[in-house]
């Protein structure tokens, strides 16, 4: 269902990816740790069975991926299991990764999200999902350090958080529920007590706004 890679027919170049704020460093800001070329090289070496490259990739992204898994599962032990599955898949499938189809970080994020959602669906915890979904969206309102700090530096991470926090609450709630809850579109609409069309429109507007603000923020 969720396979963002393997569909593009046009090449996606590094210059194209550098068009996003994540891959630019600006004067006066912390140097982001994220480096697309380094990540692609790491994946290539992992594909060759290089364990030191695997260690580097793990050190770089385990915090972000673990945070996503904990957010979805609300269970640190299960999140550990998911993280283990994700990194084993990265170890085993890295040689099949094609850099023209997207950046490694997005690949890992998608793997983690899908595995966590699969796990929560397999354990038949739909009622728990619905219950969790009613909780106030809190991605941008928690003052504790975010996973973005390690990837983009503290200042950039704070900017990203401020952009997210600036989204209208109804749009942010719909987006977070879609990505973190594992609920279907209909379930999200029912949970938020809004027509499905309204929910889709909110998600569209929120995502486009995020894209617009983040594109120029870093």
């Amino acid at each position: 269902m969720f396979q963002p890679y393997g569909i593009a027919t046009q090449p996606i170049t590094l210059d194209f990816l550098r068009g996003f704020c994540f891959f630019q460093s600006s004067e006066g800001m912390s140097e982001p740790a994220l480096n697309l070329e380094q990540d692609i090289e790491l994946l290539r070496r992992i594909g060759d069975g290089d364990r030191s490259a695997f260690d580097s990739f793990y050190d770089q992204y385990s915090g972000l991926l673990f945070s996503i898994a904990v957010k979805i599962l609300n269970d640190a032990k299960e999140a550990e299991d998911v993280l283990q599955e994700v990194f084993m898949q990265i170890w085993n499938k890295a040689d099949a990764y094609d850099p023209l189809l997207g950046k490694p970080a997005s690949w890992a994020v998608t793997l983690t999200r899908n595995k966590a959602i699969d796990r929560i669906r397999a354990s038949n915890r739909r009622s728990r999902l619905l219950e969790q979904a009613t909780v106030e969206a809190n991605v941008a309102t928690d003052p504790s350090p975010s996973a973005n700090e390690k990837l983009h530096g503290r200042e950039n991470a704070q900017m990203i958080r401020s952009v997210v926090a600036a989204l209208p609450l109804d749009q942010r709630r719909a987006i977070e529920m879609a990505f973190f809850s594992g609920l279907t579109q209909d379930e999200i609409a029912k949970n938020l007590q809004e027509p499905l069309g309204t929910i889709k429109a909110r998600i569209r507007r929120g995502m486009l706004k995020l894209r617009e603000k983040l594109e120029g923020c870093i």
């Binding site: 996003f20 170890w91 990505f179 995020l210």
Partner: protein, 270 residues
């Protein structure tokens, strides 16, 4: 130009909430539209930024070691070949492939030999079974033949027996009777007497075999009867008998005579 609906679908796609059918349709459109691909990649980066804005959760340090241990246990297969291509020396690759080829050939030969041996064993086992059946058949035939031989021998033995009934020649013992069975091959016989008058101690009955070969009867011994006049005895002739035509019993002095007179005939028959 991407319309609002496609922007909506792109947003839902990167968040993973399209239905499977919607996903297929969207990916079909995505594969044809570079501008849409561009949008999807931007939305994906936005999504990652949103996820990265989560409060930092740190996995326990032991988890990394656990994953490393699992990798060690798994002994990744694919990288071995890749490493060999990029970092290994040529001879080591060829050596590995040569060893694998040799092993495959040896396995093939072994399998072939094993198959042949199994075939031979099967054939020999079948032969053993056939031989056992044949042996049983021969054993049965042998028994039948032995039985037939015994029957023939018995028939032959009976054929060689000379059976003679002797009647009484005495007026005072008219019921006296005797039967003589003579086996020419074994030159011996059985003589059974009934109702013959018992004799005083100084007298004996003497049995004679009459063979045309000899001018006079041949003595076959003397005997007494019990109080009821009965006796059963085995006898042999003093000479080789070729044809026992008749048998006779005479009353003689104790011990009998060497040369018969046949004056006191008691029983006679043939």
């Amino acid at each position: 130009m991407i319309d609002e609906r496609m922007e909506e679908q792109a947003s839902l796609y990167v968040l993973g909430v399209l239905t499977p059918e919607e996903t297929r349709e969207f990916e079909a459109a995505l594969s044809r539209d570079f501008e849409l691909q561009h949008l999807v990649e931007k939305l994906r980066v936005s999504r990652d930024a949103l996820a990265g804005a989560l409060p930092q959760a740190t996995p326990p340090p032991a988890l990394k070691e656990k994953i490393r241990a699992q990798i060690s246990a798994q002994e990744k297969i694919v990288p071995l070949l890749t490493n060999a291509n990029e970092h290994g020396t040529g001879w080591s690759i060829w050596l590995s492939w040569s060893l694998a080829a040799c092993l495959a050939i040896i396995c093939g030969i072994s399998l072939s030999q094993q198959r042949n041996l199994r075939q031979k064993i099967g054939e020999q086992a079948k032969q053993i079974v056939d031989l056992n059946v044949l042996a049983d058949s021969l054993r049965s035939e042998t028994q039948d033949l032995q039985h037939a031989v015994a029957t023939l021998q018995e028939t032959n033995r009976l054929a060689n027996l000379r059976i003679a009934m002797l009647g009484s020649l005495l007026t005072d013992s008219p019921k006296a009777v005797a039967v003589s069975l003579w086996d020419e091959n074994q030159q011996r016989g059985v003589f059974v007497v009934q109702n013959l008058k018992p004799l005083p101690a100084d007298k004996d009955y003497q049995l004679w075999v009459i063979d045309p070969k000899y001018p006079t009867p041949v003595s076959a011994g003397v005997f007494q009867v019990d109080a009821q006049g009965n006796v059963r005895l085995q006898f042999k002739a003093d000479k080789l008998i070729e044809s026992a035509n008749k048998f006779a019993v005479t009353l003689e002095p104790k011990g009998g005579l060497l040369t018969p007179t046949l004056k006191n005939l008691v029983l006679m028959g043939g």
